[in-house]
Amino acid sequence: MTGASTAAPAGAEHGESYLTHGRGVASWLLSLDHKRIGVMYLVIVSASLFLGGVFALLLRLHLWNPAGGLVSNDAYNKLFTLHGAVMIFLFVIPGIPAALGNFVLPLQLGAKDVAFPRVNLLSFWLYASGAVLFVVTLVVGGIDTGWTLYPPYSLEEARGLGILLALSAVFLAGFSSILTGVNFIASIHRLRPPGMGWFELPLFLWALYATGVIQIIATPVLGITAAMGFMDRIFHLGLFMPEYGGDPVLFQHFFWFYSHPAVYIMILPAMGVVSEVVSVFSRKPIFGYRFIAMSSIAIAVIGFLVWGHHMFVSGQSKWMNLAFSFLTMLVAIPSAIKMFNWLATMYKGAIVLRTPMLYVLAFFGVFAVGGLTGLFLGALATDIPLHDTYFVVAHFHFVMVGAVMMAFLAGLHYWWPKMTGRMYHERLGVVSAVLVFVGFNVTFVPQFLAGVAGMPRRYATYAPAFTLDNRISTVGAFILGLGLVVALWSLLGGLRSGRRAPANPWGAASLEWQAASPPSHHNFEETPRAGGPYDFTGLRRVSDEAGWVRTEAA
């Protein structure tokens, strides 16, 4: 047990933290500190979740009646477009990696910062500019193309200025994502402390590493595609518009070459959070470490070869369809491996049911449904009737919203004491986890049923037969929204009246818990020596105030 005896700082009682190091707006906006950048990301990511959520509630209200009624068809089309675009580009993709990842990654490495702090700040500013451009898009009247931006519809002159702004926003947000990926990969390669080999990395870092690989390979294609769309619209190059000799299906290939792997950019970091939390709150080392780590890489690799399943009914050759169907179904395997390893981790543990763990349990159920319903869409025979129906809407919400958001909230509650130095309100946290889980299922289970019965997606009006499914879904959306408000209350309330957080409130073994809560500007006074990230031997709980401390005798 060498290296397991590093004396942990006794809590937050040692002077300046990163929050008080430097004051004033400029000290935040121009900060090179990964922790401040992470917090700034968190603020915009949360604001985006709020904005996207308001759009969601409005469109669910509109769908209360089959004939619509709240807004016009055009306004509805803008609502679902902006809901999708804001949620995907500004919340789900950067949520875990950019906000939580930026804060946690250097701490888990026992490092002072990421490998390229200036690039990190640039990345944040690109993202913020993208977010501002999305808001400007709203101000000039919004767009109604769907977040998928399929030409010819999206590139017609009638779409106006909005589409050009949206393409620029996507371009900027994309570059931010690439730079974050580069930074994370370089940091994990170069900044590991003594004693931390590749197979001693916390699994969150393996997940961020696999995510970084996807970000730097796939995201440039998104940027190029946005630029090509821009050019086609302005100069009529004839890339995607049949009117000028282009091919709209080519756009779909480019778009999904990025946007399918993007699903793994979203879900891999989520899986990383789950691996951390499930081990710490079961008080047991993670089961099957290597299999979980390698399944992240397998998902990243296979995830690149499945984009064609979005074009199963576009007229693509049937042999292409078969190849893509086969590869798509294979992706189920690494996800199944992870699921069973997490369950095995809980086996014979001493499971502590705090808020982060409750969100992880919710993740299990929701992710299982999201993954399993993917099988229906990977199999050609069943995809063809289900393609572009509410079944697809429900499926991707289970994966992207359900699973990713549950993990995001698990991670946020888990690292909140580290980020702020205060505990959230446990009771409110529990209430929020229950409301979010119930609300989510009430919202999206009926959508599976509507999809199987043949209700197409992106419909401003629908057949009266689907009224009940839609109404239940609308009620669920409001329960989900309420759950999120309670979560915010639990977290922000904690800032005011929460207990002071010790350095290690959960008894976790990874390095971020050796830094003070909140950490000092330089994170660690001296580079810590890494033990196993899931080696809990010798950790003893002293009290609520002092948290967990590693004792010499192990």
Partner: protein, 327 residues
Amino acid sequence: MTNRFASEIANLLAGGGPGYMPARASSVAGDVDQVFWFIFWVSAFFLALIVFLTVLFVVRYRHRASRPEPEATPSQHTGLELLWTGIPLVLVLVMFAWSTKAYLAMTETGTGAEPLEVQVTGKRWSWWFDHPGGKGAPELHLVAHRPATLVLSSTDVIHSLYVPEFRLKQDAVPGRFTRMSFTPNVPGTYPILCTEYCGTNHSRMLASVVVHPDQAAFDAWAREGMEPGESLVEIGRKVFAQRGCAACHSLDGSRRVGPTVKGLWGKEEKLADGSTVRVDEEYLRESILKPGAKVVAGFPNVMPPSALPERDLKGIVAYLQSLKETP
């Protein structure tokens, strides 16, 4: 309404019959539903297993006064990993194989009678169907048990033709033709929905498909109210004459600057680069819009491209097809 919902849930849970699903009205619908229920039950089993284990572990191994510490267990086990890699892999391969078998049937016309070929045009926000014999209509007419082939195109943006009761769907993409082949097998009227977002009235781009019980009923419908000069063949004949196509492409088989159009449809043409191509609607579209792309061996590459409107293009295709059919 509530009863319907309840009975559908019950049906779904019982895994039985059509239940929540739309009626089955094509020859492939039954196979599709079999694949669906197979995947459904495998998924239901795994979901139940995961939820059961989660709940069981939380209840039994919850941290409490009598259970302050976890029990020591191994943190890896290759045998278990192989087990939970292997079983899902085998199941997924079975799903893929079964689905593929059903899918291949969904892409073929099937044997039996000669297929009824309908030209489908999508535009914001309606469909138009040109049936054999020249009858055009805003709804699709087919014959039960007679194979059908739909050739889809669009004059503006991408649309998608979806008939839940057939379990089939196909995009109509501007600038190209796509095809759908199937056999409707239950007479009746079914909804057609657009499933590719196309703007303001996407959700109102509805039509219906009428499946006639027999050929006689279809023929009776096809004859009524038929006005001359409106069929695609007539449009094609007119365009062919007005554009002066016959100056280079003879109708009688004689050799002029370009290949004759007599007997052209469906022929295997030998190209200048040595490859061969079957003359179908996609080849004709390309040869009219980009004549230099695939030049027939032995002819000069001199034809100017002509940007024909979608409907004229379809007319030419139908006209050339008609030349083949009536020698």
